[in-house]
């Protein structure tokens, strides 16, 4: 076993110096309010990629069924909607099969739910990495947005396929990438906000399950916004996922477009979330390692 230690053991030579690429580097470390700027995000991509793969793998390590859960979760939700809504009440689906109607919007919820569950605790979970390396902290919440993309893809592909098979696919489906961007923007805003707040206020861990349990009913997954009574119809727009889901459904299925008021409200709330998330995260980032 004993390997005689020779000095040549250490990697040396010009390739190493090229690797570090620091000739002329001069970092000035001083008190700052924020250290991240928008243009730094591109440089974080390699770290985000590795963290996302790690988070995806870690999620299913020591789990019997592993990634099968990505299929079981939306399936269980779908069953719940079939029994809880469809079986007891007549829901206006604009003449579409209920399964197709639910599936098309379901992915927005499963993605949001999975990303938020992982993302809200992402900074705290990575405390070790954060306190011992100069790992870019914004990479933690962003990685959870990437790691949970399968939770978006599985129900959405199922929904689009079901629409196509039953002959209800609208050509507007080509616009869907825009709808996906909208969902990711909402999720990014909320995850940046919660992951940063959770560093200082662990109350969030108590609030989060509540938001997720209640949120599923305040999102138009199993019903349409247009069937809500007056006041509720206006207020539900404050849940940006309402705008996302109704837009997705309009993009994939042959139904009339959602109301302009709903879209405008949801878009405004989305922009507010993204700005607030960015502001809160970047402002608290410098001291995260001290507070956590």
């Amino acid at each position: 076993m004993a390997m005689p230690a020779v000095d040549g053991d250490v990697r040396s030579g010009p390739d190493i110096d090229v690797l570090w690429q620091d000739v002329g580097l001069e970092l000035r470390l001083e008190p700052v309010k924020t250290r991240i700027h928008l243009h730094d995000v591109a440089a974080m991509l390699p770290v985000i990629r590795v963290l996302a793969v790690r988070d995806f793998k870690a999620k299913f390590k020591q789990s019997l069924l592993g990634p099968v859960w990505i299929f079981l979760q939306p399936l269980a939700l779908l069953a719940a909607f079939l029994v809880g809504f469809h079986a007891v009440a007549t829901i206006n689906t604009s003449g579409l099969p209920y399964v197709v109607f639910v599936l098309v919007a379901l992915g927005a919820w499963t993605y949001f739910q999975a990303s938020l569950s992982m993302g809200a605790v992402s900074v705290v979970t990575n405390a070790q990495l954060m306190q011992r390396t100069a790992c870019p902290r914004l990479a933690f919440p962003i990685a959870s947005l990437i790691a949970n993309l399968p939770s978006l893809a599985v129900p959405l592909v199922a929904g689009v396929t079901a629409a196509a098979v039953t002959g209800h696919l609208s050509p507007r489906v080509l616009l869907l990438p825009l709808g996906l961007l909208w969902l990711m923007a909402v999720t990014a805003g909320v995850v940046m906000m919660t992951s940063a707040l959770n560093v200082r206020y662990r109350d969030l861990l108590a609030v989060l399950p509540l938001i997720l349990q209640v949120g599923v009913f305040f999102s138009p997954i199993g019903y349409q916004v247009s069937d809500l009574p007056g006041l509720a119809r206006t207020l539900i727009g404050l849940n940006p996922l309402a705008g996302v889901m109704e837009t997705w459904r309009w993009m994939v299925l042959p139904i009339p477009p959602p109301s302009v008021g709903l879209i405008a409200t949801s878009l405004a709330v989305t922009i507010a979330f993204v700005l607030a998330g960015w502001f809160i995260f970047t402002r608290s980032e410098p001291t995260m390692a001290d507070v956590v």
């Binding site: 970092l27 590795v50 011992r132 410098p286």
Partner: protein, 261 residues
Amino acid sequence: MSATSAIARPGCAGPLAWRDRPIIEAHNLTKVYRLGEHQSLRGTLSALTGRRREHHTLRALDDVSFSIARGECFGMVGTNGSGKSTLLQVISQITPPTAGHAIVRGRVLPLLAVGTGFHPELTGRENVVLFGTVLGFQRRAILERMDDIIDFADIGEHIDTPLKRYSSGMQARLSFAVAMMFPAPISIFDEVLAVTDDEFTSKCLQSIESIIRDGRTAIFVSHDAGLVRRLCTRVMWLEHGEVRLIGPTAEVMDAYHSAHA
């Protein structure tokens, strides 16, 4: 997360060439931590409304100034809570100072404690890729060195075992192996040799000596006075966040020793 400012200059600029200037300069570095949590709703509310401001603070670093030349092995000693780890976190860009500033002319590879930011659920191999990526290396460069890293750490097939099954000695070997296969312009070793066996420790010491010979810089923190005396050219003694003494190793270590006899 970029540094506050990163100025890339060609080889020669100003009165002193970049390479001849101190690799690390610290000017009056001060770090103040706020202590205590929000313990009750009432406390939180009164703090929010500004009626009662709690000011339990800790001055972890107090006006610390020093400079390290390229090619030095710089030692740091001090009791627990003297500010060593905070200072290393500031230099490694993990936390900004509360006052003062530091200039760092080179990239830093910090080994702060055993198992530097490793993730327990991932295998050794996956952790090496993660750590290397955080340091800014491309996947290809990391994978090229994987065999050397496994050799140096001497952990054989355990490289594919989740890290949570590693002993602390194995974790230390792995992080040290990464540092040695990517010898950085500035390496920081904070008590990483506290858990390794004698054989691996002496291998590490030789490696640190060889990176210094190559003109790289190291900061070495240890409670083992013998190691500090063997490796370091100069030593800084911190006490209660302040510099008590900086100077040649023998001088500082003798003073430190008689103070703690």
